[in-house]
């Protein structure tokens, strides 16, 4: 048993840390950097940051060197997540491109497709979104109805996508469509690398409960795509979808480290905030609830390390990733709910009036409700764990 990072891994950490200190925008680390979300300037800033990452060689460390990556080891990816969380680095605008589409292209794309798309993913010149969910296909992804029909040389696509993150910034879409109807709904699916800047694509914003614009609806009215834009085989897109999901090697590492950081920040909040001149940390109920969170936060970090050890030994991620996702998302929600609760009546104050700057806790609290829904709801994770890890019988209807 050994929790140390190797000298090589620590050298990697120092290199990245130094680069971040030299490249993060002025005022980022001390919190004075002006940042107004949901604006065009914000989007341009994120694209600029993505390009800076590319220039520095930090955009997609896990990709092979020949496609612009670093061939990073699993442990180097862990260090990368830790360091990015530590400085609360700007959001990765091309998250979908870097972590999902790129690795899938490298795995099962054609050499032409790799040449056409990969570099632009790295530089942020082409930002990607994913077109999975539909109004009637949420947890049940295979129930998608968006139809792609071959018309001469072209495919004509009609339907509606929803919960499309980055859709309003995206240049390209990993679009899942139905090209044929078989008895098994997993068959007859085809995945396109579709262009978002065309007449048949309309993006409509969805405002989330935290007041931000993260998601969109995407309407497809006679949108067009070509054979060259198909990834994988026609009607065999389900395999591509599975392959795409398998590329998240380090699972929810970033969320695990974020949770740890938020816990430490919550303790600081309890220490500093006072009620009638007494620190909240002197209150018995607060100490108890923080201890409860301490145990669970440590527990989920250690669970993650234990699952990671298994991945390091077997060379592939296991179904335990579902356990990490379930635990960390539920715990994040619990922690952020506590962060509001222990502030008492003042916890209500929002935005500029919040006690802690920029409504940090209130915004994160409201945002956290999405974490147990997006990327597979907690209920879906539980089904996966029950069936794949415990060997319990499958649900009816599947």
């Amino acid at each position: 048993m050994d929790f140390a990072f190797s000298a090589k891994e620590e050298a990697f950490r120092t290199e990245l840390r130094t680069w971040l200190e030299n490249n993060l925008p002025q005022g980022w680390l001390d919190g004075t950097f002006p940042l107004v979300k949901d604006t065009k300037d914000y989007e341009l800033f994120l694209r600029q940051w993505q390009n800076q990452l590319y220039e520095g060689g930090w955009a997609a460390i896990a990709w092979p060197k020949k496609y612009g990556g670093r061939d990073a080891t699993l442990m180097e990816e862990i260090v990368y997540h830790q360091e990015m969380v530590r400085v609360n680095a700007p959001a990765l605008v091309n998250y979908v491109g870097i972590h999902m589409v790129g690795p899938t292209l490298i795995h099962i794309g054609t050499e032409e497709q790799r040449a056409r798309y990969l570099k632009k993913i790295l530089t942020g010149e082409e930002v990607w979104c994913q077109g999975y969910s539909e109004p009637n296909a949420g947890s049940d992804v295979a129930a998608i109805q968006t139809a792609a029909v071959k018309d001469g040389e072209q495919w004509v696509i009609n339907g509606q996508k929803v919960w499309t993150s980055f859709g309003h910034m995206a240049d390209k879409c990993f679009l899942v469509t139905r090209t044929a109807k078989f008895e098994k709904k997993h068959k007859g699916i085809t995945c396109f690398l579709a262009d978002m800047h065309q007449e048949g694509v309309e993006v409509v914003p969805i405002i989330s409960m935290d007041g931000h614009h993260d998601f969109n609806e995407v309407y497809l009215n006679d949108a067009k795509a070509t054979d060259a834009e198909i990834i994988g085989e026609v009607d065999e897109g389900w395999r591509v979808i599975i392959a795409l999901l398998m590329h998240e090697r380090t699972g929810i590492g970033a969320q695990v480290f974020t949770l740890e950081q938020q816990f430490n920040e919550l303790v600081d909040l309890a220490r500093q905030a006072t009620e009638d001149g007494e620190s909240l940390l002197t209150k018995q109920a607060v100490r108890k609830s923080l201890m409860d969170l301490y145990m669970k936060t440590r527990g989920s970090l250690l669970n993650y390390y234990r699952n990671l050890t298994k991945s390091l030994k077997t060379g592939q991620p296991g179904a335990e990733g579902s356990m990490d996702k379930l635990l960390v998302s539920e715990l994040t929600k619990q922690l952020l709910a506590q962060s509001i609760s222990i502030q008492g009546h003042q916890g209500l104050l929002w935005k500029d009036d919040a006690v802690v700057g920029k409504s940090y806790w209130q915004d994160n609290y409201l945002y956290s409700f999405g974490q147990t829904i997006g990327g597979g709801t907690s209920e879906i994770q539980k089904n996966t764990i029950a069936e794949r890890i415990l060997g319990l019988p499958k649900d009816m209807g599947r």
Binding site: M1, F5, S300, I385, L390
Partner: protein, 372 residues
């Protein structure tokens, strides 16, 4: 980064598991609760033959000089079968204390016998209407005489020696408490019924029983700090034992949910059942991670070892009570009977909840260690 038990540790687990399977697992506990001490004695002899009792004892006293982490697989296996007796108290409370604070004479007298499986120990701490706090220790040991009554002493009837937490200087403070090694036969053992009949409690009464300084563990009046050090080892070990019980509970309900049919299908197909089992599994794995880490932190003197060990203990004891409850519910009517093992787990979970320290105190201990 390697957060896993080693191959050797896992291999040792398999020997212990196979041996306990041959003894029909909880059959040992069931025999013991019916008053059959022989079954337990023979199980303990077998475990000693496998080397379990000598694992963490220094080589010069016939041990293997291994660490807390090496005991983890053994504890998980004995937890799975709810092994009765004093293995945990002897190996992970008394042995670390004897090795760290015992005199050469005390070590030579006791450690070889413990390593050979010929000597077991219990601890006498609680008193009537007392707490686990220093103020609760009023059992008098002034002037070389033991006077007083201890209650809820675990399995005193089968303990060769009792570590008595006594007061050598009157008061309610930490100072003035001394740990005294007493042959249990010198004390009057009065059985007390407790809800977990697979662990037998007793009151121990002493009226002017003489002792001398060779029986003091560590130094006079400083026993409290020594006891706390011993409890670090004990609580890390206890958390591992409970993890073994949790693992067994998850296996039991999973098996039952796969075979029990209602409405024409296995009940494990209903999400009300399967999701509850997943919740149990999540708590099991979190308890396991905390427990493995606690033992590692103990062995390596990690800076966070106090809070790590307290966390492992609190989390495990709380999870144990919840999971045992779920196991009854998932089994339905049959889970409510004495026939199945569920009730044994429910009762052991309660036994451990406030065993050698209360949950409330351990919460506070961890919070203080964290600098809160």
């Amino acid at each position: 980064m390697d957060f896993s038990l080693s191959e050797e540790q896992e291999m040792f687990r398999n020997y212990v598991r196979k041996y306990l399977n041959d003894l029909e697992q909880t059959k040992i506990a069931r025999n013991y609760l019916e008053g059959n001490d022989v079954a337990l004695k023979s199980a303990m002899d077998g475990l000693a033959e496998l080397g379990c009792m000598s694992l963490n004892i220094e080589e010069q006293y016939g041990g293997m000089a291994l660490a807390a982490l090496d005991l983890v697989p053994i504890y998980e296996e004995i937890g799975a079968v709810l092994l009765p007796g004093l293995l945990l108290e002897t190996l992970s409370l008394v042995v670390p204390l004897l090795q760290k604070y015992g005199t050469k004479e005390q070590q030579e007298k006791h450690l070889p016998k413990i390593a050979a499986g010929q000597e077991t120990w219990t601890i006498a701490w609680l008193e009537s209407n007392s707490s686990y706090r220093p103020a609760g220790v009023q059992f008098n040991a002034e002037n070389g005489l033991l006077n007083g009554k201890k209650i809820l002493v675990p399995d005193a009837a089968i303990a060769d020696y009792t570590l008595v937490v006594a007061r050598t200087t009157a008061g309610r403070e930490i100072a003035g408490i001394t740990l005294i090694i007493v042959p249990t036969s010198e004390l009057s053992v009065q059985p007390q019924l407790n809800i977990d009949a697979t662990r037998k409690s007793a009151a121990l009464v002493a009226t002017a029983i003489p002792y001398d300084t060779t029986q003091i563990l560590g130094t006079m009046d400083t026993g409290w700090g020594i006891l706390q050090e011993g409890l670090l080892a004990f609580n890390a070990a206890l958390s591992s034992t409970i993890v073994g019980s949790l693992d067994k509970l998850v296996a039991m309900v999973t098996e039952y949910a796969n075979i029990r049919e209602q409405f024409g299908q296995p009940i494990g197909r209903f999400q009300a059942i399967k999701h509850r089992i997943v919740d149990m599994k999540m708590e099991l794995e979190t308890a396991r991670s905390l427990s493995h880490y606690a033992n590692w932190a103990y062995d390596t003197h990690a800076p966070d070892r106090v809070e790590a060990i307290a966390s492992a203990r609190i989390y495990a004891t709380e999870a144990f009570n919840k999971l045992a409850d779920h196991s009854v519910q998932i089994h339905g009517g049959i889970g409510f009977t004495e026939e199945l093992d569920c009730h044994l787990f429910v009762k052991r979970a309660r036994f451990y909840e406030n065993y050698l320290g209360s949950t409330e105190q351990y919460y506070e201990q961890a919070a203080t260690a964290l600098g809160w």
